[in-house]
Point group: none
Chain length 226, copies 2
DNA sequence: GTCGTTCCTCAGCGAGGGCTCAGACGGCTC
DNA sequence: GAGCCGTCTGAGCCCTCGCTGAGGAACGAC
């Protein structure tokens, strides 16, 4: 909500990437590019985008395979597939492997934008959502957490941070990724805000001596796990 | 001069949406459109409409599923379902999942309007409606509140604001949402009317030293909760 | 006109919460 | 066991957000 929506564009055609990137950036999205399937998977892991725009036909790992792997990784990422004209079988295969929608090349930017909007709408947190992990609950509407029944008040930043963890349980989130998502920094100088907020969260979540849920992964980042 | 009634129209057929929107707008309603179930849920969350007009047959999340999700979110929204001709099982299923009424396509606008009026009458002011939260009561007809038995006089604006809170208990309502509902602003310049009225309400509701019910969520908005 | 009511504006203030910093801690490597 | 690097911790600064009290504008009743 507060954090900007991230879109990953995977296409081996640099021209298409550029057009799409510029257009989407102008619309206020954060755009990451990848020129191949391999790079796409890597960038997806690195940035946890909300939406992936994916060309089917690429040398190496193609769009279908990328879709398959993204889906098997468990995150709920929206996938918009770009297919060549008249390649009906591609579109069918795309939807079957798990793409959420497809767009036939060539397309106008407006068409693309319409699909993007539609897909992102679907992704956004549905009403009444309560995220759970172990004995921890986060009521997104009420913006409050609870653990083992006791209510926990959170400040905005704490809430955003915990939300990120709960959306990606059991995944190690790197410092950079967290900073980028919760603080929207491409920060230059060093700062230890993240450590400080992890501490705040821990102290609130473990106030009654409960087990640690946010674990430090030295040299990497943090994970939410039992 | 109470807040305008909001109606959300969810149908994948743009023509139907347009006809319905124009007609209802002419009748003085505020209309929001959505072209899919997903978008419908999103718009419902964003605008908190009083009534949803919902097509059953839609690709993706269909009308039944939308109904289910709206109902599970706890808000009391009136739902009018649009079903294809002769699809009796749809109508039954619709009512079973929680729709309040249905209308068979094709329909005349007058028929639709009649149902809309009927539903809104039933929903918004079933005579003698009293909203409650904790020890707070709001008599919608009399436009007056009471807490722990003692009667509280409210001005129009105070009433509208409290009504909004009582219709969405335990939900954080953003400033923008509240402004939009109670003041019908798409306000440009800054104003702190909202803060002022929250203050008025608080001072009236807590005149005898009772616990706070309207809580500030810094950086976000306000919630009604114990 | 005067009075009362309600809506809204404004400016000052207080504190919540975001962030920084320095030093302590602790796990790894050698 | 020593040293180092990465993380944790406690203290504290400071800015912004929201709260407050006062008062002016608009409106209607009389």
């Amino acid at each position: 909500m507060s954090e900007p929506t991230r879109i990953l564009v995977v296409d081996d055609d640099a021209k298409i990437r550029t057009v799409v990137r510029r257009g989407l950036a102008y619309e206020g999205y954060r755009v990451v590019e990848a020129g191949s399937g391999e790079e796409g998977l890597e960038k997806a892991r690195e940035h946890l985008p909300d939406l992936v725009i994916l060309d089917v036909m690429m040398p190496g790992i193609d769009g279908l395979e990328v879709t398959r792997r993204l889906r098997s990784s468990g995150d709920e990422i929206a996938i918009l597939m770009l297919t060549a004209r008249d390649e009906v079988k591609d579109r069918v295969a795309g939807l079957e492997t798990g793409a959420d929608d497809y767009l036939v090349k060539p397309f106008s930017f407006e068409e693309l934008l319409a699909r993007v909007h539609a897909l992102l709408r679907r992704r956004t947190t549905p009403s009444g959502e309560i995220l759970r992990f172990a004995d921890l609950e986060l009521d997104v509407d009420a913006r409050e957490a609870s653990r083992a029944g006791r209510t926990i008040e959170l400040t905005t930043t704490e809430f955003n941070l915990l939300l990120l963890f709960l959306r990606h349980p059991r995944k190690v989130l790197t410092r950079d990724l967290i900073m980028e998502h919760v603080w929207a920094y491409d920060f230059e100088g060093e700062s230890n805000v993240l450590e400080v907020y992890v501490r705040y969260l821990r102290s609130k979540l473990e106030a009654n001596g409960e087990a640690r849920l946010i674990h430090t992964v030295r040299g990497a980042g943090y994970v939410l796990k039992e």
